[in-house]
């Protein structure tokens, strides 16, 4: 994780912050292909301030600051923030001591009541329990990255702490209260006895003694009362937290129940039986349905380019019913047993330094590589003929009987069955998509359009002049202001040629050599401005 956050992507991010979708990047100039260059695979959007501010708010939240950094990053990534925006947000948040522990004692309004409890060991035991339950309670309701393991473990810890603290208080108070009580009783009794003995001795001393005894009794009673009161308080607190925990578990339970009922409905159709499985991603996806507080934050989908094939079914994933034997094996493994059919196999390399044998065949060109220039309708036949060649040449294929009498068409190469003919002939609304006839299989690689003849020589002149200024700045990172300064006169030119379409200017510049790439980008910038 640490390897990812480096300065380099920061630089490349801001460099390509000039939207350069098609202009080759100057840094990676070793990529000779004129079509899409590595810069296409980089975020070219500028940093969105609004997103960064939302992220800062999120990161400043005290609950979030208790969570590991990677979950915070992952959450922001899922909300659609780019790496640069996330880094910027992290930079802006006044980051206190980054603690990876999930349950820190934090000054939380919920926990102030626990802070009021006198620092007995019971209270101290309560505090970690409270902090464990409070985050557990809050995590499911506040935006965080939720891992079910996270929550369950915290719940388990909370229950454990509660039990221990309850037991501890019970034991302690038993040890403290009862002996005190007993000694108090004994004292009273002995006082009474001594009173009985000394009754005859002195009146006032008797009164004193009784007064003292009464005081001691009162003090002891007060102590006992206080202790029992504290115990009651702590029990109440514990009960309250426990109640919250139980409520959360109930919520979980209900959701799981609803899932299992829906699965049972589905199982009514399927043949396999089997309960909800715990395996890997089906469940992980299933449990994620229960905690989607951020679902509404998903970026709106532009309806125009998106095409659904059919009316979308519910996008909530339900776990697929697993085969019965699968459930048996899962149960066995969870019990710690080893399935009986597993053998001990030694799959270590017998000779770790064995030479990798030399390749015997030359690698074959891929179908998409073969068509860099033009569509080749004879591709299909090429394969057939090459197949014949391989049939003869490949020695290892001796297993296959080549004498099937028809070398041009082994059964798996039946060409009469074209994909286009399957059931969908009527659906081939291929007007827009052109050639469905024989071989539209390959889309051409992008060939840069020829630059149009210069219509406005002044424009060309103006373009060429600021190019020199822009060239100097290309080695360092260009910022918007600097590049726009250099091409003020170009702006006027742009307005003229705008009628000709923005494409024209970009085409004109793309027709120039690669140093015009910076020009191209700054042009587009100007247009955007």
């Amino acid at each position: 994780m640490a390897a990812g956050t480096d300065d380099k992507p920061q630089e490349s991010g801001t460099e390509s912050a000039k939207p350069t979708n098609e202009a080759p990047q100057n840094a990676a100039a070793d990529d000779v292909k004129s079509s899409s260059t590595p810069s296409v695979f980089v975020n070219s959007e500028p940093i969105r301030e609004e997103q960064v501010q939302n992220a800062v708010k999120f990161l400043s939240h005290p609950k979030v600051q208790g969570s590991p950094v990677i979950y915070r990053r992952s959450f922001l990534e899922r909300k659609g923030l780019t790496k640069e925006e996330i880094d910027e947000a992290f930079r802006r948040v006044p980051d206190p001591a980054p603690s990876a522990q999930p349950a820190n004692v934090s000054p939380d309004p919920q926990l102030k009541s626990s802070a009021n409890i006198q620092p007995q060991s019971s209270a101290q035991a309560l505090q970690p329990a409270a902090t464990a339950t409070a985050p557990a309670g809050v995590i499911s309701s506040v935006v965080t990255m939720t891992q079910p393991r996270f929550r369950w473990i915290h719940a388990a810890y909370a229950v454990g702490f509660l039990a221990v603290s309850g037991a501890g208080t019970a034991v302690l108070l038993k040890n403290a209260v009862i002996p005190r009580f007993k000694s108090w009783i004994r004292k009273v009794i002995s006082d009474e006895e001594s009173d009985v003995l000394k009754k005859t001795n002195a009146g006032p001393s008797l009164e004193e003694e009784t007064a003292a005894a009464a005081k001691a009794a009162a003090a002891a009673a007060a102590d006992v009362a206080k202790a029992s009161q504290e115990m009651l308080n702590s029990k109440v607190e514990e009960r309250r937290y426990f109640g919250e925990l139980v409520k959360l578990l109930d919520v979980q339970l209900q959701e799981m129940k609803s899932m299992s009922t829906s699965i049972r409905k589905l199982e009514g159709h399927a043949n396999t039986s089997g309960a909800l499985s715990q395996f890997n991603h089906e469940d992980h996806g299933g449990l994620l349905t229960t905690s989607k507080p951020y679902a509404n934050g998903r970026a709106e989908v532009d309806s125009r380019p998106v095409r659904s094939s059919s009316p979308p079914t519910s996008s909530e994933p339900s776990a697929a019913p697993h085969p019965k034997s699968y459930m048996e094996i899962m149960a066995m493994v969870q019990r710690g047993e080893r399935p009986p059919n597993v053998k001990d196999i030694n799959d270590a390399p017998p000779n770790p330094h064995q030479q990798i044998p030399n390749p015997r065949l030359a690698p074959r060109a891929k179908p998409w590589e073969a068509d860099q220039t033009q569509n080749n309708p004879s591709n299909v036949f090429q394969y057939q003929s090459s197949a014949e060649a391989w049939n003869y040449n490949a020695q290892d294929n001796g297993i296959i009987d080549q004498s099937n009498g028809d070398p041009s068409a082994p059964w798996w190469q039946r060409k009469n069955v074209r994909i286009t003919e399957i059931d969908r002939d009527e659906d081939l609304k291929t007007g827009a998509f052109g050639s469905r006839t024989s071989d539209q299989t390959v889309q051409r690689a992008w060939v840069p359009p020829q630059p149009p003849p210069i219509a406005m020589p002044e424009a060309a002149e103006a373009i060429r002049r600021p190019k020199l200024a822009a060239q100097k700045e290309q080695s360092s990172e260009e910022t918007a202001s600097r590049s726009s300064d250099g091409i003020d006169e170009l702006q006027k030119v742009m307005k003229f040629s705008e009628s000709g379409g923005a494409e024209n200017t970009s085409e004109m510049s793309s027709g120039m050599n690669s140093s015009g790439s910076g020009m191209n980008s700054s042009e587009i910038q100007v247009e955007q401005e």
């Binding site: 909300k79 998106v306 697929a320 799959d347 064995q354 082994p410 798996w412 074209r418």
Partner: protein, 318 residues
């Protein structure tokens, strides 16, 4: 169409890039939960009704979740094993001399391996320890480790035209595009709301990739405008386990799902579902389209069967 019965549950099937009639199958015992694994290298039988001749079989201590054919050596295979190792096999050598290498660096199960089709000298492994590793065949240790995902990485795929670019799909619901020359990922696409199990690049448009997710949909993305998908393909009844773009037709792709079907999609067409095969009786987990033979499909699943058929024919027909 020939059917091959594997002793273990199928996980992945791949066509050889050198021989039209050769496939390799990765299997794992006990559904891959806990048990041994086996790799089968098969040849297509001379006639559809004949049984599959088995060229080689390799046993492993732990299940094999995926494999990839080498693009440089015709008999070399890379296997992703559930014990975290990546193993190299040579199907021309006897089983006693195999594996050639066992590369143990991942700390958790390796879910996917992909061989670079342009450079032909390196491959990627994606594992449940949230990392992707880059390897070359001649080195005993990984060249690079890419650690940014927050959860298991389920798939990694090389871009078919750019030798240094690849993408990864993860259980943290994001797709990351990487460039091996850069220290970190260059693009993060929050592609789905749920785990993304597979992805593949369009062979004919190097900026387009498809992702398959637990949310039963396949989404097609253009990295130049990745905020919204180009297409959303619904139709599977359960999580989509694998998606593969056709090497012969730019907008065609095959997918297999836990609803036991293999579907063919054309995302440029209004009604994108162009084919559906429900020959499996358990989760369909592996699917591949042949690079050398247009229209040839192979699939495997937890029902321990491997089917090879031409698109448009019935995989179960004799």
């Amino acid at each position: 169409m020939p059917i091959f019965k594997t002793p273990f549950n199928g996980y992945s099937v791949k066509f050889s890039p050198f021989y039209e009639d050769r496939i390799a199958v990765a299997t794992a015992q006990n559904f891959g939960i806990l048990g041994n694994g086996r790799i089968h290298v098969l040849a297509l039988p001379p006639s559809p009704g004949a049984p599959f001749p088995e060229i080689a079989a390799f046993d492993t201590a732990d299940g094999v979740y995926d494999l990839a054919w080498s693009e440089s050596h015709d008999s070399l295979l890379v296997a992703a094993v559930a014990d975290g190792s990546v193993k190299l096999y040579d199907s021309s050598l006897p089983a006693a001399s195999n594996p050639l290498r066992s590369l143990q660096e991942h700390t958790r199960e390796v879910q996917s391996v992909d061989y670079n089709p342009t450079r032909r000298d390196s491959f990627l492994s994606a594992a449940w320890d949230d990392t992707i590793k880059l390897w070359t065949v001649d080195r005993p240790a990984s060249v690079r480790t890419f650690k940014e995902h927050a959860y298991c990485v389920y798939a990694a795929a090389w871009n078919p035209r750019h030798a240094d670019v690849f993408a990864s799909a993860s259980g943290d619901c994001t797709v990351r595009v990487w460039d091996v020359r850069e220290p970190g990922s260059t693009m993060i696409i929050p592609a789905h709301e749920f785990e993304i199990l597979s992805l593949d690049w369009n062979k004919y448009d190097d900026c387009v990739l498809a992702t398959a997710s637990v949310d039963k949909s396949i989404r097609v993305w253009d990295v130049r405008s990745y905020r919204a998908p180009v297409a959303v393909l619904n139709g599977h009844g359960y999580a989509v386990r694998k998606v593969r773009f056709s090497p012969h037709r730019g907008s065609l792709m095959a997918s297999c799902s836990y609803d036991m079907t293999v579907c063919l999609w054309d995302y440029m067409v209004e009604d994108s579902l162009v084919g559906r095969y429900d020959h499996h009786t358990e989760f369909a987990v592996g699917v591949d389209m042949s690079v050398l033979v247009e229209g040839l499909l192979a699939s495997t699943g937890w029902d321990e069967l491997v089917y090879v058929w031409q698109h448009g024919t019935d995989p179960r027909a004799p």
